[in-house]
């Protein structure tokens, strides 16, 4: 079959992949640097072709609660936003995790805190990975580093969030969201029919086939402390299984490397250049790019630490993921940090210089 290749912005790829992968609904509120997602969907009118619902909501709070309820009925729903908007969604995300409701949040990060800047940022690592909402919970967090992955992860997200029944965050940044690249688009997948939803989501609260089953309800409320703990423990078991089976990363020349950069998203794209330059100078340099930020590739980083001399974490923040890398290596090798924040994006040369510092005798 002929490949469907187009030139797209990362945000446009998210929108177009959504209806190609058979998403049922998008609910969102404009915010830079991700407004092209809602704009592209509004322009493409998927409700006329696949039947996908697209709604500009009154706020991010409304958006996430629309995703919550849509997911509760077994539909595949998503929203997208950027830093302050994603901050507003945290209560809803916590409710989704608590009720084990699938749903996607695409978070295209900008510099913060507060209103911050509309320039790219990766300072929402904590927000995505450690959760800004209340209670013990996790979201699966995928970090694309290309426009191709923006499209591809829409399919992976759908699969994982229904497999594990939980919210999933695609944590991107203003660079990946705004830059244009060639993308191989996925073929159209039909949306699930009512019958398929009934069969695949017997837990869903959609009234379907009520006479054939007990009624369902979706609630995170549990006033009995022992019962609440039981629910939490069951969730922890699920999270542990995810940590064992769903870790994803890309190892770039890292397996024999003595000096390793750990970076994700746009920072990984920038850092690749520094790795290649040092390699050409005869240094055994490499990079590990976590693709799942949760579950984090802790084991892989620990394994790399056993045969390397030093690591450098590169982030568009004042240092967030670096703490997970330090925890992973358990003191075995020094882990330095190179960061730019507030919307500043480092040049490949700056990263090269910082990386080279490690190699000095």
């Amino acid at each position: 079959m002929k490949k469907d290749i187009v030139l797209l912005k990362g945000n446009e790829a998210i929108a177009k992949a959504a209806y190609r992968y058979g998403y049922d609904g998008f609910f969102g509120y404009p915010i830079t640097p991700q407004s092209e997602i809602l704009e592209t969907l509004s322009l493409d009118k998927p409700w006329e072709t696949t039947g996908m619902v697209v709604l500009q909501a009154e706020s991010e709070i409304a958006s996430i609660n629309m995703v919550y309820a849509a997911g509760a009925t077994g539909k595949c729903a998503m929203t997208s936003s950027s830093s302050p908007g994603v901050a507003l969604m945290q209560e809803g995300i916590s409710y989704m995790a608590a009720c084990e409701i699938p749903g996607l949040v695409v978070s295209v990060g900008r510099g913060g805190p507060g209103l911050g800047t509309i320039q790219p940022g990766q300072a929402d690592y904590y927000q995505a990975v450690y959760g800004g909402g209340n209670g013990d919970y996790h979201c699966i967090v995928l970090a694309p580093d290309s426009v191709q992955e923006m499209a591809d992860f829409m399919g992976l997200a759908k699969e994982l969030m229904f497999k594990w029944r939980m919210p999933l965050i695609i944590l991107s940044d203003g660079v990946i969201g705004q830059m244009m690249e060639k993308v191989v688009m996925p073929p159209f997948q039909p949306r699930r029919s009512d019958d398929e939803i009934r069969e695949q989501c017997p837990w869903a609260t959609n009234g379907l086939g009520l006479k054939g089953r007990k009624y369902n309800f979706m609630s995170s409320l549990e006033l009995d402390a022992a019962e609440m703990q039981k629910r939490n423990r069951a969730m922890t078991d699920k999270y542990n299984r995810i940590c064992e089976t769903e870790v994803r990363y890309e190892s770039y020349k890292a397996d024999d490397a003595e000096y390793i950069i750990i970076a994700y998203g746009c920072s990984a794209r920038i850092s690749m250049n520094a790795v290649d330059r040092l390699r050409s100078e005869g240094v055994k340099a490499g990079m590990l790019r976590p693709i799942t930020l949760w579950p984090f590739p802790t084991k892989k980083i620990k394994e790399l630490a056993s045969h390397c001399k030093a690591m450098l974490t590169v982030e568009l923040s004042e240092g967030q993921m670096v703490n997970d890398v330090r925890a992973a290596v358990e003191g075995e090798v020094p882990v330095s940090f190179f960061g730019r924040s507030g919307g500043v994006v480092p040049s490949p040369h700056e990263v090269y210089e910082a990386f080279k510092e490690l190699v000095k005798p």
Partner: protein, 256 residues
Amino acid sequence: MTTEDIIQPENRVYGKPSLMNDTPMHYCPGCSHGVVHKLIAEVIEEMGIEEKTVGICPVGCAVFAYRYVDIDWIEASHGRAPACASAVKRLWPDHLVFTYQGDGDLACIGTGETIHALNRGENIAIIFINNAIYGMTGGQMAPTTLMGMKTATCPYGRQPDLHGFPLHVTDIASTLEGTCYVTRQAVNTVANIRKAKKAIRQAFENSVNKRGSSLVEIVSTCSSGWKMSPEKANQWMEENMFPYYPLGDLKNVNKE
């Protein structure tokens, strides 16, 4: 007639709706919530649409509504029920989708969601229990608390300079182009219960037939929050709430 004869189906004058289960209710004596739950169960049963119904519960005293009426329910976070209902109805366009909310939920923390869902003309029904107080959290001031009324957070009575004015949210709703039916009812007497049931039926039919948004306010008592006996609370409601929140239709587009 023996007892056996009397309980024969043809001799019965009243029966519990089959969608109402036997779970003991947590509501206080005299509370309006239980009566309205029963009306909802009756209407859904009479319309025969339980297989195509999704109810959205609020955060408030009715948080456990899903325990009592056997349909599929989604528990919304505080105030967000209209957003939840909007999404469900758009994705399941032939379903009956309704929310059940208190005054704090609908007219304070969730005012934005309420106004915008109604203004978009979402084909949903909103059942709004206005007891002029935050029942669940122990009787604090609500947006609909009357002037001079005492609550835990306005213990000297609601005063305009300190607390502002009661919000006429139902009146606001009637001005929105998306609403097709806005009405204010009560369940304090048998006659009013019958009228309230008719209103709920019309709102539910509007949802199923995609006629726009419906809002049914039920002016209610909260004997615990108001610190009155159920009988006194009903009397107080008639004397103080009804003049401020008069019963009747504010808007009925399909009738005109």
